[in-house]
Symmetry: C2
Subunit: 527 residues, 2 copies
């Protein structure tokens, strides 16, 4: 395989010479309808309002070939060691299906990984059904009606965002729902609030930590056990109310303090773990395994679409290439994610981790510093809320911020009212359309304060309605986009060495600061 | 008054020539303890880990004088028309007290504004007490136990963030709490979810819209009224369950559909309205007027501190000047806000509006384009959650992102457990300290992938505990910082013309797109 830095490729040099397409004057109906790529799961990616034309796309094709995007993706799903720093395979795609045919086998840790993930899925199906139908009860005989996930980072942000994103759909379906809550922060106020009015007898806790050594998660596990024991409820056995999601070799896996354990492994990074047991246990308990299975099917469909070699048929690859053009040719350092769906309220927070932790790197996959921008800052809030908040800067600030809109024709809960001649959903979609065009085309005005310069670029991911398949495809689209960008920038998107130093120093602070003058000064100040 | 663009000042030219202070090698204990300024309300601002030394501060003093920061702040609180585009006074400081002495009077709209805000406060006190003690009941005779605020932007983000930020304190005090919820988005899924399990008979709705014409808010008011009427509850009268917060001249003020109305005016911008009736009604209902009064007292204290002419005694001004150095000399286009307190989970979302809507402008206060960066992108999530998410990029990404840490010695709820020899709160603070030092000092390593370059700049706002006064000071500190930055950049921080075009086009979309080809193409696609 050929691993080159972005600016070492011929195609990037050619790309850097191209003039941005003038969206402002050329956003025609024909352009909009042609700039569409199916992204799987019923989702379509539209890049009509992005500053690229055929000449860019020709160069994208060359860049994709030079950086061997499809070859590297294929190597990754074939089980090659793509996480080179940690010498690990990268197998999150396999948690939602085999992309290279059912015959394909990947061996590691003395087991076949497809079978391993499949076995865990079957165990999740059986366990979640038993809890939901009351065969497995709490230790005092009550049915389980609530689940609390204890985890941080990838064990929290993805599962939490997905739980919120699926709720309205399941309510509308009249699915039985076990309400889920999440404890993540080591701040004692976090578990204190969640436990405040909790009925321990009907609650199941899910402790999620791959290593079984995450400080926040173990601390919060202890916090919960102490709170449970302090209640002195007759017959209540804490261990019967806790399951673990962890690796087979972690201390949690063999703990006598848990009712059961579901397994992940070193080949599923935290931020890519929503389709593994990390997301699977909580979502299957909350909404039933069928919903989770449909979500996985959507993700698998998007993964298949991302295997298309032609960039004009590969939404994730196109999104990735456009992002590199914006970041490295137009030098735009941040990106806003703007879902026009209240159900996706925490999805931008998940993408923040996915993108910024994967590609926020200053060295290439061989540990050599790169001299170009890598992962951008990602932020966002749902529309129309954001319109009344930070859109002022997006429209009229001094910097251009590329925008990623997400929208749906139908509402998720299908409940609506008509006011002033239109439903709320119609108003929501009208605002989405209005914003895309306002950003792209701007408006001239003799008063400069009322002027909109236009050429503020955006893309749109849209579907008929936010259903489990759509959500799976949405998640996988972004995972694959981030993966392709890592290949383009020649990074290892699958480690996170940047989180280590803080852990080391936090332990040093807890030990009094040792000989570190700055640590000791702050300890004196904050105690 | 002298209104110059930033780069037209002598002091800025001098500032641009200064070398950044090398935090990495010079973060001494003495520097840390001396770089502290009281910000009011028990809050302290520390800039030890920012790249400035005495030479920068000398230039800051000159820049503050050239741009007449204190004179402009004084003019603003004296009732001059500082919102020049809309020809309006800017009076949010007055909602929390008189800064120029009790004798000072400000007349507008035929009334004295200090008396007007005071009268509204007295009405809020009486009304909230009557609801909380059961003198005012729901229309079917039930006590009110829940409040739902319907508003968007400044009528939502600030009040919501503050409600969450005060909850733990009030729980710990054993205050009676009327639970509050918030409906903001025009997405019908938002009201549908909030209304799902609501007991209308014991709920009071607060409709918040200064103009009384906000599309989202009026739509959601209708949504709620229709849902209430659809229940066909005997004796239930929707109008008896709704109060308005609006201006005296708005259609809402005289509506027969509300139980009562509390007033604001044109001199309180949405993003500055948390200390007016916009935040006052909901917070006083939820936690009692005394808590809200203490919150106002903290904000007033911070406002007084911001009047100090000496930058070494003025935390908001120092924060503003450092921000301009980072933005316009070091060219750093975004800033992360990182509160080490779960109670502040939505505070960054409020700051996003406050800062990005105020200073995300490309023209100066006279409507002339500026040729320097103005308001940065603001984003953030609570620590330690963020550490397991986007901190990878903050530590090892290719761009430097300035950081604003917020922390407290004690937890808010004062409930904790000890594990591995330390409480959760100790671990939280240890992580905060560790991060400041890790970002500032970095770590050398022979493996570049494990290397931290350091000189990633941060400030810290800290207090003993997050109490109502602290929160008020925190809010006002940022408002005053943003105000000073607006003066430095020569902007009008108090209008938001950038939100207008989207509103116009959304109506055009609802009317079918008229002759706009791009709008019509998107309408066809999304229907």
């Amino acid at each position: 395989m050929n691993y080159s830095n972005l600016n070492g490729t011929k195609a990037f040099k050619a790309l850097a010479k191209l003039t941005p397409f003038d969206v402002k004057s050329k956003l025609t109906a024909s352009r909009i309808s042609h700039a569409a790529i199916s992204a799987g799961g019923g989702l379509t990616y539209n890049y009509g309002a992005m500053p690229i034309d055929d000449s860019h796309i020709e160069t994208f094709v060359e860049l994709a070939q030079e950086q061997q995007l499809i070859e590297k993706y294929t190597a990754l799903i074939s089980g090659e060691i793509m996480n080179i720093g940690e010498q690990r395979l990268v197998l999150h795609h396999l948690t939602r299906g085999k992309l290279l045919g059912n015959h394909q086998l990947i061996y590691a840790d003395g087991e076949e990984k497809g079978a391993f993930y499949h076995e865990q899925l079957a165990r999740i199906e059986a366990f979640s059904a038993a809890v939901r139908n009351g065969k497995i009860k709490g230790s005092t005989g009550k049915n389980i009606t609530k689940v609390v996930q204890i985890g941080i980072g990838g064990s929290d942000l993805g599962p939490r965002a997905l739980y919120l994103a699926l709720k309205g759909y399941c309510v509308e379906l009249s699915t039985d729902i076990l309400e889920a809550r999440f404890i993540s922060n080591v701040d004692p106020d976090d578990p204190t609030e969640i436990l405040e009015d909790l009925d321990f007898e009907s609650t199941l806790f899910i402790i999620v930590s791959k290593s079984g050594t995450t400080q926040e998660t173990l601390t919060n596990q202890e916090f919960v056990i102490k709170a449970m024991n302090a209640k002195q409820i007759k017959g209540l056995v804490a261990a019967k109310h806790i399951v673990a999601v962890t690796s087979k070799t972690s201390p949690l896996a063999s703990s006598s303090n848990v009712l059961d354990a579901f397994f992940i492994d070193d080949y599923i990074g935290g931020r890519y773990s929503s389709t593994s047991a990390v997301g699977g246990v909580v979502l299957s308990l909350a909404y039933g395994f069928d919903i989770f299975k449909r979500f996985l099917a959507g993700a698998h469909d998007a993964d298949l679409h991302a295997l298309q070699p032609d960039v004009l048929n590969n939404a994730a690859m196109m999104d990735a290439l456009i992002g590199v053009y914006l970041r490295n040719v137009l030098h735009l350092p941040s990106t806003a994610v703007l879902p026009y769906s209240q159900a996706l309220s925490r999805f931008p927070a998940h993408l923040q981790q996915l993108d910024m932790e994967s590609n926020g790197k200053q060295v290439n996959r061989f540990g050599k510093p790169v001299d170009y921008g890598t992962g951008p800052v990602i932020f966002g809030e749902p529309g129309t809320n954001g319109q009344h908040s930070f859109y002022q800067l997006l429209h009229q600030g001094t910097d251009t911020i590329p925008l990623q809109f997400i929208g749906f024709i139908k509402s998720q809960r299908l409940n609506d009212v008509e006011t002033d001649g239109s439903t709320s959903q119609k108003k929501l979609v009208a605002n989405l359309i209005a914003q895309i065009v306002a950003f792209a085309c701007g408006r001239d005005h003799e008063n400069a304060n009322k002027r909109f310069l236009g050429n503020r670029y955006s893309s749109l991911l849209w579907a008929n309605r936010l259903e489990p398949e759509t959500l799976g495809a949405l998640l996988a689209h972004y995972e694959n986009k981030v993966m392709f960008q890592g290949f383009l920038w020649n990074l290892n998107s699958f480690d996170q060495e940047g989180v280590q130093l803080g852990k080391v120093l936090a332990n040093k602070v807890l030990a009094g600061g040792e000989s570190d003058e700055a640590l000791k000064a702050f300890i004196r100040m904050l105690s």
